[in-house]
C-alpha cells in the first residue's frame, strides 16, 4: 500500500548511534536472563523468559499465533498501519523506565517500572482481546493484577477514577512526528476505580512467557479484557488517581464513536459498523466465517455487576 509513496525513511527513524553502540548490553541482558530466570523483569527489554504462575481466569481457547499477535496491532505512536508497530517499535528504549504516580495517591512518586512490580507475583492470563474494528485474538499475557499495584500506591478515599498516560517520545515514535498525526499526544486512557480494582484487570509485562515486545506496549501496559482493545493503554508512563472522570484519547478524537466505557457489546453498534460479529485473527483463512461477539467479550459473569443499573446504550 505504501509503495506509491516515495521512500519516507527519515534519518531520525534509523536506530540512533548511541543505541546501536549499546547493543551488546541488550545481548548480555538476554543471555543472563536465560541463565537466571527470576532476574528477568529487572533486565532490559528483549525477549527474556519470565517466571509466572497460572490463573483460573485464563481461557482454554487456542491462543492466536505469536507471529500475528506481534505483527498485527494498533499502536498509533508508531504509525496508523497495523504493521507499523512491528516495523518501528524496535527503536524504543524501554529501560530505564519511570512510571509517575500522582493525584489522589497515598504514595505518589516516580517509580522505576521494575520497582513497581518487584513484589507482585506474575501470572499468565490468557484473555480474549476484541478490537473495536471488529477483529479479535486470544493472547497469553503475563502480568500482575492492577489492584495489587493500586493497593501499593494507596488510593485516597476521594479517588474515583484511574487515569493512564503513554510515553511521548517523537524521536523513537515515528507516529508522533510529521504531518498526519491521528491523535493528540500523549495517548490517555482511564477506568473507574472499581473497574481498575477488578481482578480481571492486569498490568501486563509479558507475552507468550517472555517480556513484552515493544510493539505490544513494553515495558508495561494495561489489559482490560471486557473492553475494546484501545482501552488497554500501552507503554504507560503515568498513573493518576482522580476524582473526576479522566479524558480518554479516542473519545477526544471522536466522542460520537468512542465512549469512556467502551465495553464490548454486540448490541451497541459502532456508528459506522456492526459490532455483532468479529473475525478471529489466526483462524481466519480466506474462507473462514466471522464469529458472534459476546457481551462483555465473554466476561459478563465476572463484570456485568459493575454496570448494574447503567444504561449501556447511553454509556457506550
Amino acid at each position: 500500500m505504501r509503495r506509491l509513496v516515495p521512500s519516507d525513511i527519515r534519518p531520525s527513524e534509523i536506530t540512533p548511534h548511541g543505541v546501536y553502540l549499546r547493543r551488546r548490553e541488550f545481548v548480555a541482558g538476554a543471555v543472563s536472563a536465560g541463565l537466571i530466570g527470576t532476574m528477568a523483569p529487572l533486565l532490559p527489554a528483549g525477549a527474556a523468559p519470565l517466571q509466572f504462575g497460572k490463573s483460573a481466569f485464563s481461557t482454554t481457547e487456542p491462543p492466536t499465533p505469536r507471529k500475528d499477535v506481534t505483527s498485527y496491532n494498533n499502536f498509533y505512536e508508531f504509525g496508523a498501519d497495523k504493521s507499523d508497530p512491528a516495523d518501528y517499535a524496535h527503536a524504543l528504549t524501554t529501560r530505564p523506565w519511570t512510571v509517575k504516580v500522582d493525584g489522589l495517591a497515598g504514595k505518589p512518586g516516580d517509580y522505576d517500572v521494575d520497582e513497581l512490580i518487584r513484589n507482585a507475583a506474575l501470572e499468565e492470563r490468557i484473555y480474549r482481546l476484541r478490537c473495536v474494528e471488529g477483529w479479535s485474538m486470544v493472547i497469553p499475557w503475563v502480568g500482575v493484577p492492577l489492584a495489587d499495584i493500586l493497593k501499593r500506591i494507596e488510593p485516597q478515599g476521594s479517588a474515583k477514577y484511574v487515569a493512564f498516560e503513554t510515553l511521548v517520545r517523537p524521536a523513537e515514535m515515528p507516529g508522533q512526528r510529521g504531518l498526519f498525526q491521528p491523535l493528540p499526544w500523549p495517548y490517555v486512557e482511564g477506568l473507574r476505580l472499581d473497574e481498575a480494582m477488578h481482578p480481571l484487570t492486569i498490568l501486563a509485562v509479558g507475552l507468550y512467557g517472555e517480556t513484552l515486545p515493544n510493539q505490544n506496549g513494553a515495558p508495561i501496559r494495561l489489559v482490560v479484557p471486557w473492553k475494546y482493545g484501545f482501552k488497554s493503554i500501552k507503554s504507560i508512563v503515568r498513573i493518576s488517581l482522580t476524582e473526576k472522570q479522566p479524558p480518554t484519547s479516542w473519545n477526544i478524537q471522536n466522542p460520537r464513536e468512542y465512549g469512556f466505557y467502551s465495553n464490548v457489546n454486540p448490541n451497541v453498534d459502532h456508528p459506522r459498523w456492526s459490532q455483532a460479529t468479529e473475525r478471529r485473527i489466526g483462524e481466519s483463512g480466506l474462507f473462514v466465517k466471522r464469529r458472534e461477539t459476546l457481551m462483555f467479550n465473554g466476561y459478563g459473569e465476572q463484570v456485568a455487576s459493575l454496570y448494574a443499573g447503567l444504561d449501556l446504550k447511553a454509556n457506550y
Binding site: 498509533y76 498501519d81 504493521s83 498526519f180 491521528p182 453498534d269 459506522r272 481466519s284 480466506l286 473462514v288
Partner: protein, 220 residues
Amino acid sequence: MTAFSPSSAPFARLLLGVDPVRRAIYIVGLVPAIWTFYLGLVDALGADPQKTLERTLGLWALRFLIVGLAISPLRQLGGPNLIRWRRAVGLLAFYYAAMHLSVYVLLDQGLAWAAIWADIVKRPFITVGMLAFTLLVPLAVTSSNAMIRRLGGTAWNRLHRLVYIAAAAAVLHFVMLVKSWTFELALYVALIAGLLLVRLVMALRRRWRTAARPTRAGVL
C-alpha cells in the same frame, strides 16, 4: 505481426488480439488480483487475509479509476493521447470494484443477506460504496462499440459522466471507513479532487468562451 508466417497469424491474433497493447493492459491489470488471491490461498496475506484481500481489490479499483480519469486531461494538457486504451482501464476499475464487492458479500459476510442489507441501509460508508459500484454498472454495460453506436455519441458521453460521481463516491467510501487520516488517503483524495477540478475548470472556460463570443460579435 510481420514476424509471423500467414499460417501462424490466427494463433498470434488469439494471443494478442487485434490490439496487443489493449490485451496487455488487461493481462497486466489483472495481475494484482490474481497475485493477491494466490497469496490468500497460500496463507501469505498476513493476520487478517480477508480484510487484506478486500482492501487490496478496493484500492486497485480506485487506482484504475484515477488512471482512467487522468487520460483526457493528459491529452488536453499536451500529453500523449491514450484515449483508445481508456475503455480497458475503466473496465479494469469496474472488474476490481466487482471483485471487491464480491469479497465483502461472499467471504466477509458469508452471504448473510440480512446483515448485508442492514449494512447498506445503516452504514453510510457502505451506502456510499454501493452507490459508487452501482454507478459503474451502466458504464460497464454500455462500454462496447455496439452500445456507443446505439446510444449515439452525445448520449453516451453524457451517461459516462457518471464516472465523476462514482469516483468521488469511491474515494469518499475510503475516507469514511478509516479511523484517522493518513498520507496515503490524502494522496487518493487529492488525485481524485484534482482530476475532477481540472474538468470543472475546463467546462467553465468552455462555457465562458461560448458565452463571450456572441457578445463580442454583437459589439462589433
